[in-house]
Symmetry: C2
Subunit: 185 residues, 2 copies
DNA sequence: GTCTATAGAGTGATAGAC
DNA sequence: GTCTATCACTCTATAGAC
């Protein structure tokens, strides 16, 4: 018996792609074992809680990734303009110009939202708050910054819907450009 | 046997709520029979093609509803400003201030997009085109009208995601107000 | 009898859990 | 792999309108 060492952390990104592609209900064990190249036994060894625990781990992973790579750009840069630009660059890369959808957004729209309400809420709250803080740093009024921040994050989610609907990456890229200008201008 | 006469058209709105709530994959026959109060026999009598035919009928129904009640507002009013205002009013009502999600948006994000690609694309294209035409009528340049129209329709989709994520209708209403102002201003 | 709407038992396949 | 539950779907049987 070959023992290809896998760890929980190595499985989570693969799991994330399955949940992202098929949603929570559509992520069947068959699709999960295919996507992770693991047997059912291994999957349940890593996630005794079943699909619910898998989805929790995936949401935590996405949340951590965004905190580290996207939200932190906003506060880490000495120049907040640079931080905002870095955020848009990262977002464009992460969503592969709209070819990839937002897993948390998909969960927010679905029936599974209630099950993962806290995770979904916290993800968007963290993003919006980090962006709003950067907007205040470039001189916006707090209230204006909050509204603009909602507009940008919501606009990105909407752009993902339209990019998928039209199957066109330029729809996503152009919206990203427009939102970037509005945030910085 | 009680014979409560139902017609296909009466069933479609009930079906729509099931697909809207659970998505295509999550709309099991158990949920469908529960939501429509019809037995499997009746359901398959109306939709011999099964779930695929049900989803097609639902998408066609939503599409027709929007064409009649939303997109037509944009062209029917003598004053395009009034038409755009009417569109925003209808959208706010239809989505129940963000408590309801967009069935076509959910389909666009999911794996089922490919199966219903034409319907999904046409729905958003019709909406964006109708709005862009109204924006041209109030004096916008065609190119600017197209960009703004994408922004508004995408913004509405994104606002639905955020409203569900935060479980707050005011997030949706405020975004709708902001987009309305931008469209008209 | 014919036609349409109804109900639901029963099919094999597949689901998630272990 | 094995378990039970549930999946989408089929089929037979029924009722009532013509």
């Amino acid at each position: 018996m070959a023992r290809i060492v896998a760890e929980r952390e190595d499985v989570v990104p693969l799991l994330a792609e399955v949940f992202r592609t098929y949603g929570f209900e559509g992520a069947s064990l068959a699709r999960i074992t295919e996507g992770t190249k693991l047997g059912k036994g291994s999957i349940y060894h890593f996630f005794p809680g079943g699909k619910e625990e898998m989805a929790e781990a995936v949401l935590a992973h996405v949340d951590a990734w965004f905190k580290r790579n996207v939200f932190e750009s906003l506060s880490a840069h000495a120049d907040p303009h640079e931080g905002i630009n870095a955020m848009f660059d990262e977002v464009g890369r992460y969503f592969r110009s709209g070819r990839r959808v937002c897993l948390v957004g998909v969960f927010a729209l679905g029936n599974e939202r209630d099950r993962f309400a806290a995770r979904v809420r916290d993800y968007f709250a963290a993003w919006i708050d980090a962006l709003a803080a950067a907007l205040v740093r470039i001189g916006r009024e707090p209230k204006e910054a909050a509204a603009l921040s909602h507009e940008v994050v919501g606009g990105i989610q909407g752009a993902l819907v339209l990019a998928r609907a039209f199957d066109r990456t330029d729809v996503f890229e152009e919206t990203l450009q427009r939102l970037r200008k509005r945030a910085l201008g």
